[in-house]
């Protein structure tokens, strides 16, 4: 089984280079390669997840604290499976036309991005994480710019500068961490972080978090969000919304044992997350451009995830994992359906989608279900996340934050149902539904959302496993540094 874990990273990279040789061939070869690789990733990570095998691969045979390790435990495998599922859907269904991951250049970048995202999740080494993060970032800069319009360039440039700044800060933090603890292995760091003095720890972790906050689109690092979401090609929007932010969320969950050893840091991050939540959702409340709106909503949801992690405890982590997954699934649906609407009406302003339910009834239903799931309405997956989240907040007596979250949820519900309502208003127009194949992946994802919404028990065991893996630093450390302990 060990090889699978490595393959999850190697195979997409290999596919990326393989595509170069098919540059003159038809697109379907590229699509076939991408779908094969991502489907393989989905299936093998799911198999590993369900066979309960946690495993650690020490790359190059170097023992963990010295060399780089890949850790596939109950937490990281959930997320690998999730991102591979979404990349598969993009590659198979979205990649044909609109999403511009079809030609060999974009396809190669997309595969690199997949590899980098999987690497960020699987790696057990902080610097390696940084490298994968940069790999993902560079591919996504180019892919955003592939949109080809003005806001694509604006968004990509903003993303480059914010991303460059954040990643350099993160590197600085990594340097300080290495200097003070003498290790970059995350498991080792969990054990050793207590040795560092308070103020230095604050500085180092604060800087490291900058990079993660960028991926999670938390406030001062999310200034690129609206432009990038607006300008990116449709497939890239899904990557931004459901993969990169998911990875950010995962990393913060993974660093939770380190985080809770620093109450001061939590005190600083809590207002930041609240501010981010309020700003993002209020900006979305007024937004008329659907992709920018969805971008703001991603930022808001990720702020929710961050809050859930900061609330802490088993319930908080549980809520965080649930919200991350629910958000990734729902956001992918929204972007797929959004791309379909855009194709049909040739406009991105949601007000021009009036009466689309007649043209594309399934699309309207899918959009509504995903939107309700993001709001946290029962019957959809998001409800359980929000429910546990509020429970976690109240259990840790963070009443003020919970108040804000409840108010913001209302705002969120209103602006999402406003769009759904617009879809269902009657309108005399003869719009024809185009690119309906984009609805196939959305249907699959919505079925998952509704299934989990009605029967959360079906994944609750897996998620609880993830919670245990995330919450107990001893478990993770034992897994990675078995021979040391």
């Amino acid at each position: 089984m060990n090889t699978y874990l490595t393959l999850l990273i190697i195979l997409p990279v290999f596919a990326a280079f393989l595509m170069y040789f098919f540059r003159k061939a038809d697109n379907w070869i590229n699509i076939a390669i991408m779908s094969f690789v991502t489907l393989f990733g989905t299936v093998s990570s799911l198999v590993m997840l369900f066979s309960q095998g946690s495993e650690v691969v020490a790359l190059g045979g170097w023992k963990p604290p010295y060399g780089i390790v890949l850790v596939g435990d109950r937490l990281s495998l959930i997320f690998v499976a999730l991102i591979y599922l979404i990349t598969y859907l993009i590659a198979q269904f979205g990649g044909i036309e609109r999403t511009k991951v079809n030609d060999h250049k974009s396809g190669a970048l997309f595969m690199l991005l997949t590899a980098a995202a999987a690497g960020m999740i699987l790696t057990g080494d902080l610097f390696n994480f940084f490298v994968f993060m940069e790999l993902a970032a560079i591919s996504s800069y180019v892919l955003i710019a592939k949109g080809g319009c003005r806001s694509s360039y604006t968004g990509a440039l903003k993303y480059i500068f914010t991303g460059g700044l954040a990643s350099m800060l993160m590197l600085l933090g990594i340097g300080i961490l290495y200097n003070t603890t003498g290790t970059l292995n995350i498991a080792h760091l969990m054990l050793r972080i207590g040795l560092v003095g308070d103020s230095l720890r604050w500085l180092a972790l604060g800087l490291v978090l900058c990079g993660i906050l960028l991926k999670m689109e938390v406030f001062p690092f999310n200034l690129w969000v609206p432009e990038s979401y607006k300008g990116a090609p449709a497939g890239m929007k899904i990557v931004l919304g459901s993969i990169l932010s998911t990875v950010g969320g995962y990393t913060l969950i993974r660093l939770y044992p380190i985080l809770i050893q620093n109450p001061g840091l939590i005190k600083m991050l809590l207002p930041l997350a609240l501010l981010s939540l309020i700003l993002a959702e209020l900006a979305a409340y007024r937004e008329k451009h659907i992709n920018r709106l969805l971008g703001y909503s991603s930022a808001g949801q990720m702020a929710l995830v961050m809050l859930a992690i900061l609330f802490g405890g088993r319930m908080g982590i549980y809520a965080a994992i649930f919200i991350v997954i629910a958000h990734a699934l729902a956001k992918a649906v929204l972007f797929f359906v959004g791309a379909h609407f855009k194709k049909s009406t040739d406009s991105s302003m949601w007000e021009s989608y009036r009466g689309l339910s007649k043209t594309s009834p399934i699309g309207a239903v899918l959009f509504t279900v995903a939107a309700l799931s993001l709001t946290g309405i029962p019957g959809m997956m998001g409800f359980w996340g929000k429910l546990s989240m509020i429970g976690a907040g109240l259990a840790s007596a963070k009443y003020f934050s919970i108040g804000i979250i409840l108010i913001i949820t209302i705002v969120e519900g209103v602006y999402f149902l406003r769009i759904s309502g617009t879809l269902y208003q009657s309108n005399e127009s003869d719009v024809k539904a185009k690119a309906s194949y984009l609805l196939i992946p959305a249907v699959i994802l919505v079925l998952i959302i509704v299934l989990i919404g009605f029967w959360p028990g079906c994944i609750s065991k897996i998620i609880n496993g993830g919670v245990s893996a995330a919450e107990r630093s001893s478990e993770y450390a034992k897994l990675v540094l078995d021979y040391l302990l």
Binding site: G379, L394, G421
Partner: protein, 626 residues
């Protein structure tokens, strides 16, 4: 026996079927709807008396340390509410079958079935989790029904959805506080624990009770939250308005009776005033204020549906007042009034829907004289407003009498007077509605086109008339089955068919009906036997001596009830000026402005965002020197 869970799943499945396959066959889906409601009435009737019934589902789902093991339980309170929901929906379905016009949206049946599923969930659930699920499902399902695919109705439906979300959020927060405190979400066991908590440490129980109460009051349209009611009623499809008014408003009442009232009346040991806890006293007064304000607002209303919506809010106010008194009589009066109101307000809205069906109007200034054209509808409406105004032989009288008795029994004289004011006002604006729609001069357009509604739509009206009169004469037919329900609120009086026990006396409804009929007979005798009568054309006395041509209107364009209560409206102009509606609009507007400013943070290049970044960095680096 079919379990409640099966009934709920059946409703959801039927909703899916009608939504997916039967979009083009409206009549067929209404028939399915009707069959489902009839079936559930049957199932519920078999369930009556089986108060130990329960079922449990195992979701094997754990949130935190609380195992989610939802289930259903048959309690008298839930049984009564769900029985009325199903029975009213069944009656309504006949009406809707006839109503099924081309403009009638196809989305109604599936969403209505979802609402039925949600209401069964809410009424029978054993734990809070399913309660929340049902509660929030009501919101979006109603949103789509009320909007009905029309752009101009979007805002009204959104106001309903907004308040529904607020209510849901408050509920979730309150439920979690209960869950964290007692490590279980079971409604019935936590009631007992809450009573003990409220007795020993009222300040700990206070926030939970407050949030729950607010959540429920929002759903029943109490004062600062009443603004959704007229909007939702106005915009809803004409045959859904009876349901909103009859049932949806009662969800809040149900919630209060389920959880808040038992705790407040039995255990709450906070400060007390006039012999009752301050908590209950404040909300009793809120009920009175609600009904007074709704009455004042109804005076100046020209739209029939909005007027009746305000009337519903006022009635919800009476019920809230009565149940917060906490005495057995108050709760009995409140419950009886809730059920009576379900009947008569649903019937009134059906008649309005019938008028809409024939004329397409809800603006009362554009109607008049329809009594000659639609006699059955007129009769139903007349009996309905008699019941709503609480006049003798109809059912509304009994329950209002009981509420007054409960207020007087606790010596709340101020409340009694205030409520009396609201009740009198109710008679005034209801009569105005009767006059404007059915009496007076008929319009030329209506003269030619309007006729009585088809028989299918008359069925619920006839049944409604019989119910209103029958329960007015023999309230025991409703009070006797309610005895197990009243037992849970600590009253064990055995009811007789026509004698209602109050606090300072008893009321023989049969006797008062006989008196009433005697009065009618005597008046008729005087009318027919005394001085000779002769018919005059309407125009002779219609304008009370005024000459309409002086005002540049022809007699048949003149609407007598225009500006009917202008003096009263003027009297309350100061109150109407500062309306809550405006405050809500202002808040929404401010939110949009803030949103725009925030958008600028994200779109400008050199801006506050970077300053914030710098600030964050300063914080991180500053930590080094602390």
């Amino acid at each position: 026996m079919i379990s409640i869970g099966t009934m709920i799943i059946l409703a959801v499945v039927l909703a899916l079927i009608t939504r997916v396959f039967l979009m083009k066959h409206k009549l067929l889906s209404w028939v399915l709807f009707s069959a489902y409601t009839a079936f559930s009435v049957f199932v519920l009737l078999k369930l009556y008396g089986n108060w130990n019934y329960f079922e449990t589902m195992n979701l094997s789902y754990l949130v935190g340390r609380i195992n989610m093991r939802p289930g259903f339980m048959n309690k008298p309170l839930g049984w009564f509410f769900s029985f009325f929901v199903m029975a009213m929906s069944f009656l309504n379905s006949f009406f809707s079958m006839g109503f099924s016009k081309s403009i009638h949206s196809r989305n109604i049946v599936p969403h209505w079935l979802m609402i039925l599923a949600a209401s069964l969930t809410v009424f029978f659930t054993k734990d809070w989790l399913l309660f929340i699920i049902g509660w929030e499902t009501l919101g979006w399902a109603s949103f789509f029904i009320i909007m009905g695919g029309k752009q101009k109705k979007y805002k009204d439906s959104m106001s309903y959805y907004f308040f529904s979300l607020v209510s849901g959020m408050l509920l979730i927060a309150a439920v979690w506080m209960i869950g964290i405190k007692f490590r279980t979400l079971n409604i019935h066991t936590t009631t007992r624990s809450m009573i003990i908590l409220a007795k020993n440490t009222p300040w700990q129980a206070f926030p939970i009770l407050l949030m729950l109460t607010l959540s429920f009051l929002i759903k029943s349209g109490a004062y600062p939250f009443h603004i959704w009611a007229p909007r939702a009623h106005k915009s809803a499809p004409a045959d859904f308005s009876p349901f909103i008014s009859g049932i949806m408003i009662k969800f809040g009442i149900f919630g209060l009776l389920l959880y808040v009232i038992p705790i407040v009346s039995k255990g709450y040991a906070g400060y007390s005033i006039f012999g009752m806890p301050v908590f209950a006293w404040v909300f009793s007064w809120l009920g009175i204020i609600t009904s007074a304000i709704a009455t004042v607002l109804a005076f100046s209303e020209n739209d029939a549906k909005r007027l009746m919506a305000y009337s519903s809010v006022a009635n919800a106010g009476y019920i809230i007042t009565a149940i917060f008194l906490g005495t057995a009589l108050g709760i009995k009066g409140g419950l009886l009034h809730a059920f009576n109101h379900m009947i008569f307000k649903a019937v009134i809205f059906m008649t309005i829907a019938a008028v809409v069906y024939r004329t397409g109007e809800t603006d009362m200034n554009k109607m008049g004289g329809l009594a000659y054209k639609m006699p059955i509808t007129f009769m139903t409406f007349l009996l309905g407003i008699i019941a709503a105004a609480g006049i003798a032989p109809m059912n509304g009288f009994v329950s209002k009498w009981m509420i007054y008795q409960a207020l007087l029994g606790q010596k709340h004289y101020f409340m009694t007077v205030a409520m009396f004011f609201a009740s009198t006002g109710a008679f005034l604006y209801l009569y105005r509605a009767l006059h404007a729609i059915f009496l007076g001069q008929i319009r030329e357009v209506h003269e030619r086109e309007v006729k009585e509604v088809p028989f299918l739509m008359q069925i619920p009206m006839w049944i409604g008339m019989i119910l209103m009169f029958g329960l007015g004469v023999f309230p025991g037919y409703l009070l006797r089955p309610m005895m197990p329900l009243m037992k849970t609120f600590g009253s064990s009086i055995s009811e007789s068919l026509n004698v209602v026990q109050g606090s300072v006396g008893s009321l023989n409804t049969l006797f008062s009906t006989v008196i009433f009929i005697l009065g009618v007979v005597i008046a008729a005798a005087i009318f027919f036997l005394s001085a000779k009568t002769h018919k005059t054309p309407m125009m002779d006395n219609y304008t009370s001596g005024e000459d309409p041509e002086e005002w540049n209107v022809t007699p048949n364009k003149y609407q007598f009830s225009y500006g009917f209560y202008e003096p009263i409206t003027k009297m309350f102009a100061w109150a109407l000026k500062r309306s809550v509606d405006k405050a809500y609009f202002k808040a929404s507007y401010i939110l949009k402005i803030i949103g725009r400013e925030i958008n600028m943070i994200f779109t400008d290049h050199n801006n506050w965002g970077y300053a914030a970044l710098l600030g964050l960095l300063a914080m991180i680096i500053g930590g080094l020197f602390l």
